[in-house]
Amino acid sequence: MTAPAAAYGRPARVLLLIALRIRLEVLEWSGTWWFLFTLVIQAVLGPLIGMFVWSAVYPADSSIATYYVALLLVTVMTESFEQFTFSEKIYDGTISHDLLRPQPVVITTIGTNIAIRIWLTVMGIPIAVLAAFAFGVSLTWAAALSALPVFVLGATLSFCWIYTLSLTAFWTERVHSIVGFGWTLNSLLGGTIAPLAFLPGPLQDIARVLPFYGMLGLPADVAAGRVHGLPPVLTGLAYQAAWIAVLVTSAVLLWRAGIRRYTVVGA
Amino acid sequence: MTYRAPIRGAGWRETLSSVFNRRYREVPAVQNVSFALAPGEVVGFIGPNGAGKTTTMKILSGLLHATSGQVQVLGYSPWQRRSAFLRRIAFIRGSQPVGGSQELTVLDTLQYQRLLYEVPLAEYRRNLDELTELLELEDLLQRQLRALSLGEKMRAGLALSLLYRPQVMFLDEPTLGLDVTGATTMRRFVAEYAEQTGATVLLTSHYMADVASLCPRLVLIDNGKVQYDGQLDELAAKLSPYKLVRLTAPNADEARLREAGELIEASNGTWVLRVPREDVARTTARLLTELDVADLAVEEAPLDVVIDKAYREGVG
């Protein structure tokens, strides 16, 4: 993220570096299954509570449970913890090791991110199956597959969002609170505490434009078959792409300013 | 004192079977360790890594409950950890100089310690002034514990422990990681404290300088057993039947020196000879008469060498 890929080599090399990093990190994280399990539990809690609440409000509507099981899966598959994997490196100074390597620092962060997501997915699927079974949910393969494009962009978007927030660690020690704040926005406007369709009118309109729905609710809505026709999906994709552009730009700017500050002040 | 450690073979089959049918091996950490300390004694407790020093210290302070045997410290059974007992001992570990919250300042922690150990206010003030001066704490008092360097932490840790004037001190590697100045301060302080208050001190250290400067008596354990208990210089004499004669004689003839003893070092007119203990007097007399000697000194073999020999070969 520091400079165009050309400065370090061709895009293919970057992809290869990321792939190698993912492999390494997947192995490294396998020893911490207990910790990963706690992450999964934290991740599934929001969707599960939402499912209980809204199933109590509309006991007859089975699409709610379907939506929340899909949301649960999307949540575990797109969790981002850059406030730990990245910001802590700034706090304890170990980011200096990464700075000395001939590759963009963000490659390590991305590798860790995807490795953790892989583990969380593996561990989250049984919980989703259990919930689906308990609430009599039927997800169709066709709908799930049709959610792939919005899911991929949504996953990218949530990484960019948390990574951007984590970059504030260059300036403040309260990055965990900041990310916590981001998380509150996510669950409020992203479709966790209530499916977007249940939000009051004006709030719903705002939430549709903001990036949070694109990270969680949109992929879940599509996978649950609650979005009808192509146009809303295309609109969603457009919003996602636009937000990714915005966040990547801010991340690059923040990184440049932050690293300047870091190298001047010293660790 | 024995530890029960689960054992497990290699391979999946063994691993699985150990889940259901766990086998244990009794690991004796300390066996038949028996010694007594008189009040006011300062004793060095040494032995190679894994000899059982820390385990013994933990038993003596009450952190571990010995599986068999008898332990009495100040007339208490340590493992009961009675308040009255805990208020009279201190266990200071170089690896963890200060426990508790690292966010608080040294002064805050000292005040908390006063409440915890019920030190009367007047005594607290007096002790604090004294410790502040002896340990040069003035600049540290307002700083957070976590911001202190290792040497500073050790000084703070000492102050925290000595605030309540313990009668028995267990020092486990107190100079671990300290620089020369830090280690010297530490040693001088412990020696002064023991002398002034008549406290009993048991000290483990890998640095023989600690032991040599502080402890007239030595207990050496290995494999959980006491190998030697007695005066430090006797151990040296027993283990090292040689002394070193260091002399400066610019014009001496090397062949001449070789006749006097085993030449182990030679540089710029300074020579070091290894001479059997019983021959030292005769040899030095001869060297002084036969050579033009500018300077001559008789030294014990370095303690490190002696102790290393004891660890490797045992005490005869």
Binding site: F52 | L63, L64
Partner: protein
Amino acid sequence: MRLLRLFGAGFSRSAQAGLAFRINLLFDIVLSIIGLFATLATVFIVYARTDSLAGWTETETYVLIGTFQLLSSLKNTFIDPNLSWFPENGIRQGKLDTFLLQPAPTLYLASLARSNPLALVQFALGVAVIAVGISHHGQLPTPGAFLAWTMTLVAALTVTWAMGVLLACLAFWAPRLQLDVFYGSAWELARYPTDIYRRPLRLVLTYLFPLTLIATIPTNTLLNGPRLLVLAPTVAGAAFTCLLAITCWRLGLRRYTGATS
């Protein structure tokens, strides 16, 4: 008495240390308010769609949320700092040794000596929400209901502490288990009336892992008056959990000082 003095000393030092970082303090206050508003927004969104959530009206739910906020604040202030410290630092790094050698009950030192006074900001917010909820409710609780409510809160706090100790105790046998995160996650389940959960889970939350006690029972007591059939088992249950925690702690400590690995 001495324990109270120690507790007071520790608390005031932590408070001073916390207040020293004014920006962080401001940050925490702002975040607490945002978090609370997010929760209130949830209630608002739910009741925009329905009049009754598993038999609870909107104002009742506000009182419930306020009560949950009170206990969460107390948990964050007095229990979490100790609980999250314990397995990693206390057992794995052996820092429990320090406490064992101090002349005060080890259980007190390990489970209550640390605190995070800044988290009490949420307490004030919780009281405010309860006040607003009650004023909308129409009728003030009787003094008896108020007294019984306080009693249930104390019982809830006791159970919260005891469950924390029980979870921490597991570290004596399995040092790698870090259960405070699960505790925190499960705790979130108490944010809503436990009546919304389906039967097996509801039974677990009532009897086995009594999160019903955190908000649902106190709120019911405050709004609908004390009922002996609820109060007596609550107090008895709290006392029992407390005893259980102390017993487990003693067993764990015996194992720890017995040095079986």
